[in-house]
């Protein structure tokens, strides 16, 4: 089959690789219908996260089960399924409590020796613990399929941030980061009943999506000016719930600056300097909590899926460019140059 491989920073290729097969009786092989490129893939693309030459890449996909091992009970060939961005055994105590990202047998698509999502097919370990079944009829609904793909990462990650930030009905929420995760954070905050949602961003295409997702205010300023603008919008207090969806020193500094005393920052931006932006003395004096991390999206899919199916939430607008498998390298370039927000891949 063909799959995406990263050889070095900025060197993404689509190559012939061995077809995936069931190796363990708990494995399944999934033929990919939709995959995509994640903002966090760019850390590898830019060389800021190390990869071994030849590693696969891509951790978001949905598709159809092609083969299932003898110990796979929940799925049969032909089932339409979505995969969260980590696999997990579904049986350990972390999986039982909904923290599948801490499963000792879990792993990340594209790690050494495993398949990545940006390919024609994927060997899925622990299929029963990992995959979630989708209604078969969704396969013929292009828009819905795209919306469902967001459950593999960005929608669940935005939801994790909103939960971590303590979004409640009536809350004032501020969102740092206008990427797909930040935008899904807006959608998640709206879904959880936030009354006011302040999106920080200056790219019109993105802030328009934010408004469509429920943002009531947009702040185009950055840094100290952004902090001042959010404070002005909130009577000087700041937002009780802040979603941090970037992971840099600057974004975390802004998140702390716009948080209301006694509030919380829900952080899901993979830390790339954000620890430095975390001024613990300020947070201490103002009782600002920090809660989040790598999102256990597997735990959230059952909660979010019905709302995607019935159209209550539709994250599909975060995808603004579509490529075939051969176009994946071009998709990385577009996202790196911010000419695309999030690239959908149809293998």
């Amino acid at each position: 089959m063909r799959a995406t491989v990263i050889h070095a920073p900025k060197d993404i290729r689509v190559e012939d690789v061995p077809d995936p097969v069931v190796r363990q009786p708990t494995d399944a092989v999934v033929r990919v219908l939709r995959a995509c490129i994640c903002g966090s893939d760019l850390w590898a693309y830019r060389g800021e996260s190390a990869r071994q030459p030849g590693q696969r890449i891509g951790h978001e996909f949905l598709g159809v089960v092609e083969q299932a091992g003898t110990e796979v009970n929940g799925f049969a060939p032909g089932d339409l399924v979505v995969a969260p961005f980590v696999w997990s055994d579904g049986t350990c105590e972390y999986c039982a409590e909904g923290l599948q990202t801490s499963c000792p047998q879990g792993g990340f698509w594209g790690s050494v020796g495993s398949d990545g999502g940006q390919g024609e097919a994927v060997r899925v370990p622990f299929a029963d613990g990992t995959l979630v079944k989708l209604p078969a009829e969704a396969a013929s609904d292009d828009r819905l399929l795209t919306a469902l793909l967001a459950l593999s990462d960005v929608m669940g990650t935005g939801h994790h941030a909103a939960v971590g930030a303590g979004v409640r009905p009536g809350a004032t929420v501020a969102v740092v980061g206008d990427g797909a995760v930040g935008l899904c954070g807006v959608l998640a905050a709206k879904r959880l009943g936030a009354e006011r949602i302040i999106a920080l961003g200056r790219h019109r295409v993105r802030t328009d999506i934010a408004r469509g997702f429920g943002a009531t205010d947009v702040v185009a300023e950055r840094g100290e000016a952004a902090v001042a603008a959010v404070r002005e919008l909130t009577g000087g207090h700041g937002a009780h719930a802040v979603i941090e969806a970037v992971g840099t020193e600057q974004s975390m500094r802004t998140a702390v600056g716009i948080a209301r005393d006694g509030g919380a920052i829900g952080y899901v931006g993979v830390p790339h300097g954000s620890g430095i932006g975390l001024d613990l003395s300020v947070m201490f004096d103002r009782n600002i909590a920090l809660r989040g991390g790598v999102a256990p999206v597997r735990a959230y899919i059952p909660e979010l899926l019905p709302d995607v199916l019935d159209g209550t939430i539709d994250p599909s607008p975060v995808f603004d460019m579509t490529v075939g498998l051969g176009g994946v390298p071009q998709g990385y370039r577009a996202m790196d140059e911010r000419t695309a927000l999030k690239v959908l891949v149809k293998p």
Copy 2:
């Protein structure tokens, strides 16, 4: 009157100062019956927190109302009262939601121009918002008076840490810090229903108090060895709720190391390097939350007071040395040299 004054690092004196008087109609003057020295006073004593020469010091006291301004409604001369370690107006939105430490009109005893707790009397701004009445009969119960004094800071602060760490019935809790706050954290965790409480400490006097307060295990190791010991005690997982009551780089590093994936660190140690010990990448991968800060003890006194009065909790064992006002400098020396845990002052 006589009161404690800090002139320079290690230069603590008891001097004649002007008698406090009611300046604002919302003020009261409280004659101090009991005060004490806080571990956080040592940051000033050691010169690690800046003070202007001549500032008062001490932020924990209880006593008897001597004068009350014309707009003080809740108190009259003769009332026995305890003060939290910050004053607050009792009317702003932060006070209303129980975050009195963020009251815009609030302040800290001993800040420039205000009285400190380690003196014969204190002018209390916003008496109605700040003070809490105690039963008059407590004045004649020496042990109870000492226990009630802990409500001014360490007991409420330990409780804040336990709440921040998410202590619930049945929880496994680990406590970093064997000072009075850490020990009160043990007591608070026990009160909140923790099943297992692991106290980190190596000083027998302190760990004996921890056991008396409900600690089920004591870990004497430090640093990496402490992390290994706590992990061994918890089946390799760590503690779901970690109380961090020190504030240094090392203590925070230990707190992160012993936290279970998906758990929380309730931090109340005034940050003195603890931000450096906070490895955000580790916290991100393991979904460890950080919640706490300066404790709004005023909010907790109404909840904790009945339990102190009826003996459900008795924090008085944290006081292991008693001095008169003249002995305060000696008390600082003893705490600085760790020959005393917490010094009670009877002016």
